[in-house]
Every structure is written in structure tokens, then in C-alpha cells.
Amino acid sequence: MTRRWLRHLRLIDPESGRDWQGDIAISEGRIVGLGEVPTDFVADEEIDGSGLVACPAFIETQFQAHTPGHGRNGDLESELRAAAAGGFGTVVLDPTCAPIADQPGVICEQQMAATTLGLLRVHSAAALTRELRGAQLSEMEALLRAGATVFSQGQRPVADSRILRLALSYAADLGRTVFLWPEDDSLAAGGVMDEGPLSLRLGLPGRPQAAEDIGVERDLRVAALAGARVHFPSLSSAQALTRVAAARRAGQAVSAGVSLHHLLLSTADIGHFNPHGKLLPPLRSQENREALGRALGDGSVQCLSVQHQPWGREEEGQTFVQAPFGIAAAEWTLPLALRLVDAGWIDLLTLLRLLTTGPAAVLGLPAPRLALDTPADICLFDPEAECIPTLQSFSRGRNHPYAGWPLRGQLRYLFVAGRLVHCSSPA
């Protein structure tokens, strides 16, 4: 394996909060020198990291790679390359694939495909209920044996509270986190955007924010009954987030994720029927977006997500109602996330925590660290270089609203277990 010497870096370790200058030496996939690298270290390759920040590779909790699937909307390779370009060393595949990840065979297929590719660390979220319908429990133990890391409902709430209680109780015995999608199904039914002034103006059916607030309240109470550890991967309502934070402070095993999109966009970005602003949960009001941003700094949010959902060319050219939900912007994660720092909501260290140690804790994985004798999952980025997203990318999905945004931050190198999986020259 290539022995690498990464030199003259600004090192940030989110776990310890350390921020210092130094080098990294990588050998056999692990960090063997940090800060001052022993002068007798012999490298096959040296990289001059002047002006670059080094930190642990990011972790994504909800990643759609349509694997297994038909490939038109992207496959594991295209989407993992996009994730790598965004700084992710680890992703969790969403159970919403075709077929849905409710059978051990699907989990095995995902894990085998990931091993064959050898790009990133890939975890599988197995369906909590069969076909995510919320009617029957999936064979959770078999799914874990096949290699799943967590259970998830994808983007489907469990409408029946009794089934939810039973599924969470059963999962609690197995000791894994359950991702829930909190929404009152009947109140949200048929809505394609946030219910509010813009949906009224455009004549589009809305999903009221209250549907999410009710979903969170119910899910929290049922999870407490069942004694399960739950995670809400993408909250859009600031009120719901406050409620989750209060439950967490009171000792409940619960965590909250927020997507970058809900922090960077609002209903106003839908404008006149822009389908790239069509998302679940829906983009909310500007006031709500600002409240979410402020909550980032007070510890209410445990992890950030780019909630990658690629859709290929066949899905383009549809009306807003017909267009699928979701944004594919994984490869712009770093510059998009740095906007949160520029907005004054959080500092760089907190941002990196929300992308590394935060999601690791949610998933029950060891905390990623810049430390001696830990796996060399590292990204190097230039925080100041200009970056303007385009629609051409590694991902097969062209559905994102960020093209042309003037951003800063370029991901320059990504190492996973010491292997170089992404590299881009300065623009």
C-alpha cells in the first residue's frame, strides 16, 4: 500500500477540538504520524498541503444510490463518486431502493457491490417494516446478520401507532438506532410543498408544518414507550427540532439531523414551480429556515445531511406535481456546508463535528479522529478556493438548485483507509 506524507496542513480533529499545524503520515491504511512526522518516515508519495485543512472524512446518514435499481437515476459507482467529491468517506444507503431493503438479499447485494467497488465505506439501513408500508415488521435480526447497520423507514412514516410501538420495541432488543420519518400521514397526504402563502398562490396542494410537529411528538412518545433509540434524519420544522432537543435533554435516546437544503433554501426557492425545490420534508418558510440555523449553534442538531436523491434525465421536464421529490448535491457538500459558517450560525469546528463525530454517534460507529493509529479516512480541502456548482457532475442526478451559486471551498483529496479515492486539482 502507498505510504503517504501529507505536509504543511492545518489539522482539525473534531473529537478533541484540537486545531493545529502539522503533517500526517499514512501507512497500511492508518495514521502513523501526526503533527511532527518522524524524520525517518519514508513515503512513496508526498503531498504539499499548504493552505489546506485536514479533517476526518464526512459521514452521510441518508444516501440514495438506487442500489439495487435500474441505473437510470444513478448507481452505486456514480453516486459514491459524487459523495467522495463532497468529502464523504462513509455513507448509509437509504432503504428506498428497488426492491426495498427489507430482505437480507438486498443488504447482501448492497454490501457486495460496495466491496467490489472499494470506494467508500458503505453501510446499509434496512427497512423497519416490510416494503416500508408500516404494516408488518421486517425480519430485523436476519437483516442485521446480512450486514445492516441501522433500521429506517426511509421517507415513509409508520401511520399505525401500534405497529410503530411494536417495531420499535422489537428493534430495541437488537440495540440498533431506528431512523424514523415523522409526519402525520393523513394531514400531509398529497401535498407537494409546504402549505403556506406560496402553495396558496401557486394552487399546489400543501403539507402543513404541523404534520411534522405532530409526527415528532407522536414518535417521541411511542419511542419512549418502546425504549428504543431513534433518530430523525431530516427535520424541517424548527419547532419539531426544539421538541426533540427538549426530549434529549430530559434523557431520551433520540437524535436529530437536518439537511443542508433546509438550512440553505426556503419555499421562496420554488419560485414559479422550480421542481428542484421539491423536497421531503418540504422546504419551509424563511423564518423557519433562520430558526433552524440558529438552532445549529445551540446543540439541538446532532448531524447534518446532504440527503442525496439523484434523478436522471428521464425524470426531467415534468410538471412540479409529477416531478419526484429530492435534491442531488452530494458533491457540493463541502462548499454548501461552509455557507453555514459564513452565515454566522456555527464555527468551522462545529460544522466538522456535525459532519463527522455527530453522525458516527448516531450510527453507533467509533468516533472518526485525526489521531495516531486510527484509520486514515481523511479529507483535505481548500476552504478559501472559489467553487461554483454546475449541473455536470459525477452523479447521474441533475436535480439541484445550486448551479451558479458563488461558494467557497474545494475538496482536494479524499482518503479512505489510506487509499486516495478522490482528487481534484485547484480550479
Binding site: L200, G203, L204, F273
Partner: protein, 237 residues
């Protein structure tokens, strides 16, 4: 002039809207008049076509119906005088009505001093005030001093969706009857976009009475739409 009905066109075979349009464009079509069940369809088309052809939105879902609004304000200016001095009541299912949305925009642009929307909360939610209108849930007080009463068609689907208990109850609470119309200004003008449900949103007595100008709307609609087409496809005269 080509008339393409979706049910008998390639759309029924799975062709997308934009592919259909591109095929028609390849036949040297100059423009499109599109009525579509989904909001934003005309915008999608216009963005796709750019400078290659013109698009008239002939109604998109519950979003807009601009030529209806034009003919409505034309009718009002002819029969009810300056819009900037008239109080307009829009009665019925505003929430699901592209006609109402388009009319509200047109009236606002022309400086209408007060637009009142009236109906049960299930069809006229208070949040509609964000469109710049006054929201009422009782008809009688809303009619006081009104110069124009615009009754919207009540669709049977709304009952199936449990937004109304029955059309009979709707008529009792919100039907425009002669007695109620007397609460409005004496010379108030009654309009309706058609087709009417007599005995539901409007009584036959009002519909056939001297204050109703529903057939004038139809006449004006023809002229107005001819004007729109002349403007777009008039050969540069």
C-alpha cells in the same frame, strides 16, 4: 389551428408533455394554447420553448386562468364602472379555483379597493389573506355594499373529499339568492365563469335576473380571446 385532445393523443401512449410539444413544433407550429390539469404546466412549456413559440395559459390546475381574468375585468369595466372604485365579492371554492386566483391578481393590479372572498373555512381558509384579500365565512355581512358578486362553480368532488357535508347545506349557507343579493349595492353586478349549478351556488332567479351578466361574459370571452390571439399571431400588422 390544431386541436389536440390528450385522451386521443400520444400522451395517452405515455409521451411526455414536452415531447408532444416538440413534435408539434417540428410541424412548424407558431404557438400553443394549453389547458392542463396540473399547476405550472404552462410555465414548464414556456420555459422549454423560450423564443421558439408563444404559449397561452388556458388554465393550469388550480393555479391560473389568465384569459378568464381578462374577460372578467373587461366585463366589469364595461358594466360595473372603474374597478378602482368597486368592492368585489368572490363567493365559493376559492381554494381550488384557478379562476378566482387569476381574478384576484387582475383586480389587485387594477387597484380594486376591496376584494372579499367568502365561503366555508374548508374552501376559503383564512390564510388566503396572503393573496391580498379579505376573508369572510358568512355571506350576508360580506355582501353589504358590494358592487360585484362573482359566484364560483361548486364542484361535486369537494363533497366527496369531505370539504362540505352536502350541496344542499352549501346552498343554504352560501347560495346566492335574490334575497341575499338585495344586501349588496342596488346596482350590483353578478358574474359566474360557467358552467353553473343552478340551485347550488346561485339560484335560478338570480342567474336569470337583470343583475346577472353571465352571458355577456361569454360574449366578451370570445372577443377577448380573439384579441389575445391577434396580439400573438396577428402577422405583425
Amino acid at each position: 389551428m390544431l386541436n389536440i385532445a390528450v385522451a386521443s393523443s400520444s400522451a395517452a401512449k405515455g409521451e411526455s408533455l414536452l415531447d408532444t410539444v416538440d413534435n408539434l413544433l417540428a410541424m412548424q407550429v407558431d404557438g400553443f394554447i394549453l389547458r392542463h390539469p396540473e399547476a405550472g404546466a404552462a410555465h414548464l412549456l414556456a420555459r422549454h420553448l423560450g423564443e421558439h413559440a408563444w404559449v397561452v395559459n388556458a388554465g393550469d390546475g388550480q393555479h391560473a386562468h389568465p384569459t378568464q381574468a381578462l374577460l372578467d375585468v373587461f366585463t366589469l369595466r364595461r358594466l360595473a364602472g372603474p374597478i378602482s372604485e368597486r368592492v368585489v365579492v368572490i363567493l365559493g371554492d376559492v381554494l381550488h379555483s384557478r379562476v378566482a386566483r387569476a381574478l384576484i391578481h387582475a383586480l389587485s393590479i387594477l387597484g380594486c379597493p376591496q376584494i372579499r372572498v367568502v365561503g366555508p373555512r374548508t374552501l376559503v381558509p383564512p390564510e388566503l389573506h396572503s393573496l391580498g384579500v379579505h376573508v369572510w365565512h358568512e355571506l350576508e355581512p360580506a355582501l353589504a355594499g358590494a358592487n360585484v358578486v362573482y359566484a364560483l362553480r361548486m364542484q361535486r368532488e369537494r363533497m366527496d373529499a369531505q370539504r362540505l357535508p352536502s350541496l344542499e347545506e352549501y346552498h343554504r349557507r352560501y347560495g346566492l339568492t335574490a334575497a341575499r343579493l338585495r344586501l349588496a349595492a342596488p346596482d350590483a353586478v353578478v358574474l359566474h365563469p360557467g358552467p353553473m349549478n343552478r340551485g347550488v351556488e346561485i339560484s335560478a332567479e338570480v342567474a336569470d335576473g337583470p343583475q346577472a351578466h353571465i352571458l355577456d361574459q361569454v360574449t366578451h370571452g370570445l372577443a377577448l380571446r380573439m384579441a389575445v390571439l391577434a396580439r400573438l399571431a396577428g402577422g405583425g400588422a
